[in-house]
């Protein structure tokens, strides 16, 4: 039988007794049939509405376990059985207590069930985003095919207003696409041939054809869902405390209840009925379900809320660690800056310098190399192949160009090669302008410089300001030289710069910082993976890469730095909510017990079993409600 049905049955049967209880003092109205009517009504409640509690309690008892059902069964059972005895012995009965407690507990469960459904709805909402079918090219024609039958490599046509079914790459056409549902990015983005599209996002303006690259469980949405699921079912370390408590709590309460009865009856000399009421109240108020709900519901709402904004929090442990973070370290390229540097100046014989650099860097995917190659392309310089290509670890690359040894690289090359004073001066000047300088050399001599600049993202400065307001120290970690790094740091407002760090050293630098601080590291994933895992909290930007998802404790789907502050704010709010929930749950249970046991009896303050039942239902409800409210707390960028 459903909880709701059980609740209505017990409510309707309890109502006459409730009315009598309320009216008694005023008009001395008595229930027709008196105790017998009460006995009949309560018996039906016990048999129908309360039986599941009893059978579950019995089943647990056989396995040496106990749970909240044990407490409800023992509490109401005691009240019921004693009242039957009292009825025949001609003493005062309290059938109504048993019936009321059952009603209130069931009311709590009905509401709680509703709330729990609501707090776990984030995932199903995410899954609902998926398109059901798509127009897939089969035998030269585009036909409607269900989502499950799409395979990698399929060509799929998307018209305006249609959903993109899976992840892929555009092969023809352009369009603007609203990716808000997956990335949280509110502005539609323009996509052309060669751009990646994300499954479940909405095509706005144009018609295009894309090639499916990732389907089924490999799509970004599926990965996000898997991540959120894992986070929601994870345990925050703070919860381990409640695990212990739940295990010993129920038996301990039973013992306290017996002691309560013994003290009132044997030592103080109250009558059996009153002593029993105290014991029953103790049992009823102690139900630890609020304690068990405190963490999971808050986690569920918090991580679900984050997922909607493109902030994926991996698990409860991350939430807890975020609380201690006092330093946020940023990778520069691609994180603080746009990550697409452009050539701004060329010093020396412009043609020769650019051609040399382009030829050596051809085939490299380093962002600086791409900038040089783009510039060469723009100036229509033919890039011929080179021989004996060799990487100079952390310094640059060298190769044989037309039989001569040539090299391209960074400042560290100065240890090995000569440079004229004129060039050196130019270099410092360019670096002061926040430009990265690439040295180009031929035959052991540096013959020219290429200045490349990577501009900060529009939102970087606002992001830093927000973090500072939060009282956090910001640090930039980069492989670039000191000059460039400082210039960028000044522009966006970063406190400290650690420059000239080799990719492999990033993790070590984080470790050094960790000696005195709790560190969050923000990086864009691939080469930052070691640093992301080393940091106390790894924040990976751009969920496009699987490595980023694996390495980061928090994944920011959007490429917006302000989300770092948002993620920290959300984590803190969620964790604080867990603490608040646990506090309330403990207060109800721990403070409720002595009150129920009659400690404040001499002040005329007692808790009857039915009030205890209300209090217990309220405690569960207030915890779940507090978690649901977390979904409504204010979170916004402060520009």
């Amino acid at each position: 039988m459903k909880i709701t049905t059980r609740f209505w049955i017990s409510l309707i049967l309890s109502l006459p007794m409730l009315i009598e209880m309320v009216l008694m003092p005023f008009i001395h109205w008595m229930l027709p049939g008196g105790q017998v009517t009460m006995f009949v009504l309560t018996t039906i409640v016990m048999l129908i509405s309360a039986r599941p509690f009893l059978s579950s309690a019995w089943a647990s008892f056989q396995k040496h376990h106990s749970n909240m059902d044990t407490l409800i069964a023992v509490g109401t059972g005691t009240a019921y059985v004693y009242s039957i005895y009292a009825m025949f012995a001609g003493k005062g009965v309290f059938f109504e207590s048993a019936a009321f407690v059952i009603t209130f507990v069931l009311l709590g469960q009905v509401l709680e069930e509703k709330m729990r459904d609501r707090s776990s709805s984030a995932i199903s909402k995410l899954m609902d985003l998926q398109a059901k079918d798509a127009m897939v090219k089969r035998d030269g024609r585009f036909v409607q095919v269900p989502l499950a039958e799409i395979v990698s490599g399929d060509l799929i046509e998307v018209k305006p207003g249609q959903k993109i079914a899976v992840d892929g790459e555009i092969v023809s056409g352009t369009s603007t696409i609203d990716e808000a549902m997956v990335t949280g990015e509110s502005m539609p983005v323009t996509k052309r041939v060669g751009d990646d599209v994300i499954g479940s996002t909405m095509n706005m303006s144009g018609t295009f054809v894309f090639k499916a690259k990732k389907v089924g469980d490999d799509t970004m949405l599926a990965q996000i869902v898997a991540l959120v699921k894992k986070a929601q079912s994870s345990h925050a370390p703070i919860q381990q405390l409640t695990d212990r408590v739940s295990d010993i709590f129920v038996p301990a309460v039973l013992i306290i209840a017996i002691l309560t009865f013994l003290i009132w009856y044997v030592f103080i000399g109250h009558d059996v009925a009153n002593s029993l009421i105290f014991a029953v109240s103790v049992v009823v108020i102690a139900c630890p379900c609020a304690l068990g709900l405190a963490t999971p519901t808050a986690l569920m709402v918090g991580t679900g809320r984050g997922a909607k904004m493109g902030i994926l929090i991996k698990d409860g442990e991350v939430l807890e660690r975020v609380n201690d973070v006092d330093t946020v370290v940023f990778d520069k390229t691609g994180t603080i800056t746009v990550g697409q540097p452009k050539v701004t100046d060329i010093v020396g014989d412009e043609q020769q310098v650019l051609m040399l650099a382009a030829r050596i860097e051809a085939g490299s995917e380093h962002p600086l190399a791409l900038a040089i190659l783009n510039e060469a392309k723009r100036q229509q310089i033919a890039v011929a192949e080179v021989k004996n290509f060799e990487a100079l670890s952390g310094k640059g690359v060298q190769a044989l160009v037309d039989g001569q040894q040539a090299f391209v690289g960074n400042e560290r090359l100065l240890h090995d090669y000569e440079i004229t004073d004129d060039l050196k001066q130019k270099m410092t000047q360019l670096q002061d302008e926040a430009k990265t300088v690439v040295l180009v050399g031929l035959q052991q001599k540096i013959i020219g410089l290429i200045a490349i600049q990577d501009t900060p993202k529009d939102t970087s400065a606002a992001a830093m300001a927000a973090l500072k307001e939060r009282g956090l120290r910001t640090v930039m970690l980069t492989g670039d030289n000191e000059h460039v790094a400082r210039a960028i740091a000044k522009e966006v407002g970063i406190d400290e710069v650690i420059a000239n760090v080799l990719p492999a050293e990033k993790a070590d630098r984080i470790k050094m910082l960790q000696a005195e601080h709790t560190v969050a590291f923000v990086g864009d994933g691939i080469n930052d993976a070691p640093a992301l895992t080393t940091a106390d909290v790894g924040i990976a930007m751009g969920a496009g890469t699987d490595i980023a998802i694996d390495a980061g404790g928090i994944v920011l789907v959007k490429n917006d730095l302000r989300d770092v502050d948002m993620a920290l704010a959300l984590s803190k709010k969620t964790f604080n909510r867990i603490k608040l929930n646990l506090f309330w749950a403990f207060v109800y249970n721990v403070l409720g017990i002595p009150v129920a046991a009659g400690v404040f009896y001499s002040f005329g303050f007692i808790l009857s079993p039915e009030i205890a039942g209300v209090a217990m239902a309220l405690s569960s409800l207030s915890v779940v409600l507090s978690s649901v409210l977390l979904g409504r707390t204010k979170l916004s960028y402060n520009d």
């Binding site: 008892f61 749970n67 776990s120 079912s233 038996p251 009856y265 044997v266």
Partner: protein, 123 residues
């Protein structure tokens, strides 16, 4: 006189509760039956889980079949935090859960409120 008898009964009851719940009691353990490269274990959800410990062989795909006959809403979900599984268990229906047995280790499961516990041991 009655009060003394009640006192003795009460103390005896306390002793019994302490022994029954806190004393060492063997957890019911079951090893999976392996058939056709597939391990299957039925877990009855009634006042807890029986068996409470499931031993699985590493590398062989495994399924746990949970059947809840207990009406308590305490047990209406089963959660495997290590695998990111949070499965609803409708009363009197069998729900199958895939267990990743690629890594040896101990994986706990719990009810939705984290009050009942079970354990999968992969070795």
């Amino acid at each position: 006189m009655t009060r003394i008898i009640v006192l003795i009964i009460g103390i005896a009851l306390i002793g019994f509760i302490a022994w029954w719940f806190f004393g060492k009691h063997e957890a019911q353990t079951e090893s999976a039956a392996v058939t056709d490269d597939q391990q299957n274990v039925d877990v009855l959800v009634k006042g807890g889980y029986s068996p409470e410990q499931v031993v699985l062989k590493q590398g062989v795909p495994a399924q746990l079949h949970f059947k809840r006959t207990d009406p308590s809403s305490c047990l209406d979900h089963v959660v495997f935090p290590d695998f990111g599984i949070n499965q609803a268990l409708p009363e009197n229906e069998t729900e199958t859960i895939q267990i990743d047995t690629s890594k040896a280790g101990e994986y706990e499961w719990a009810c939705g409120m984290n009050m009942f516990h079970g354990k999968v041991i992969v070795k």
